[in-house]
């Protein structure tokens, strides 16, 4: 379609590209609205749960979301210091 327009018009009709990019972007951004900080919330709750069992440095908990066209991935990276399993030892 784009190539056809290009051939007919002699130059690129860029408006259809703008329209498509906007539609994809805004569908994504509207989905995030109302839950403005999903990642922050996830991070806080993950930190909370893991800290019940392992001593953690809050700075070493990284939550990342990567949105792909068909699937998105949620990456949780938690750095655990060596040799410390506080409550596991206590409950163990």
């Amino acid at each position: 379609m784009m190539n056809l327009l290009r051939l007919l018009g002699g130059r690129t009709a860029s408006a259809p590209v703008a329209r498509e990019r906007l539609q994809i972007l805004l569908a994504h951004e509207r989905g995030l609205r109302g839950q403005p900080d999903l990642l922050g919330l996830l991070r806080a709750e993950i930190l909370d749960v893991v800290s019940r069992h392992v001593v953690l440095d809050p700075e070493k908990v990284v939550v990342r979301m990567d949105r792909g066209k068909h699937v998105s991935t949620l990456e949780v990276d938690i750095e655990v210091p060596n040799g410390f399993e506080r409550s596991m030892a206590a409950s163990g």
Binding site: G9, S14, A15, P16, A18, R19, L26, E29, G34
Partner: protein, 271 residues
């Protein structure tokens, strides 16, 4: 009953102040009592576009803080006796505005005017949220360009969640005003079309203001474009938009420049 209308956009430089002045003047020309309020604290410009920059004594912040009475801060337009301006402060910053203070002023203005047009600052920070806070209606000024449309979408989301009306479960009546539109470029596929923008924003259209030298010419001399050159294409488009705000059914069209052959030959340089 008084109507509070915020002119907003998110993105800067799309024509909020120009549109506030032009719509305010057009409504006043139709006999309505109108006040235009500049919410761009620290970067006021509505006074300049209205040609009242040398008559500002007190401002919005002075009234919020009780330093001046509302009647002392209001400036009457020299051309239209039922058009007034409430300027923003140039020296203070936007933190001087409080939700409660703005609410009080809007309530006072509602008793005095038919229309209260709030010229929002760009952005989504405090100044912009306070400008829309008490609005009954909103005009979202949008350029046919990706970043402007994206920001308009964001602002529409805020109008639906952060206004007093939204919090009460009511709706702010929203209208899109497309400015700087070039129908030739849109027809050639070089610019987002009206249909594209409306489909993406899913908000009704208030008007289409064509790209025109008359807009700059009007702001150069400090006059709303509807007063400065009433026959110009943008002026006619703003008047149509104002009539729609009044509830009239006006056929939507893009006014075009009436350029004669001589003007075209001269490259329209005679400003």
């Amino acid at each position: 009953m008084a109507k509070v209308l915020v002119v907003t956009s998110g993105k800067g430089g799309v024509g909020k102040t120009t549109s506030t002045a032009a719509l305010g003047a057009a409504l006043a020309q139709m006999g309505e009592n109108v006040v235009v309020v500049d919410f761009d604290v620290g970067l006021r410009n509505l006074d300049l576009v209205m040609g009242a920059e040398r008559r500002v004594v007190f401002d919005l912040i002075n009234v919020v803080q009780g330093v001046a009475k509302l009647s002392q801060a209001l400036i009457r337009d020299k051309r239209l006796e039922n058009l007034w301006l409430l300027p923003a402060s140039q020296t203070r910053d936007k933190d001087a505005l409080t939700d409660e203070g703005v609410g009080r002023i809007i309530a006072d203005l509602r008793c005095k005017f038919d229309w209260i047009l709030c010229d929002s600052p760009a952005g989504i920070e405090r100044g912009a949220t306070l400008a829309m806070r008490y609005a009954d209606e909103a005009v979202i000024v949008t350029n046919p360009e990706v970043s402007s449309v994206r920001d308009s979408d964001r602002i529409i989301g805020m109008l639906d969640s952060k206004t007093v009306k939204a919090e009460r479960g009511e709706r702010v009546e929203k209208h899109v005003l497309i400015t700087r539109y070039d129908s030739g470029r849109a027809a050639r596929g070089e610019m987002l079309s009206i249909e594209d923008i409306l489909e993406i924003l899913a908000t009704p259209l208030l008007g289409i203001i064509p790209e025109s030298q008359d807009v700059l010419r009007a702001s150069n001399v400090g006059s709303p474009v509807t007063l400065n050159n009433a026959a110009s294409a943008p002026a006619r488009a703003y008047v149509d938009a104002a009539r729609r705000l009044m509830g009239e059914a006006v056929t939507m069209m893009v006014p075009t420049e009436r350029t004669g052959l001589m003007n075209r030959l001269l490259g329209r340089r005679a400003a």
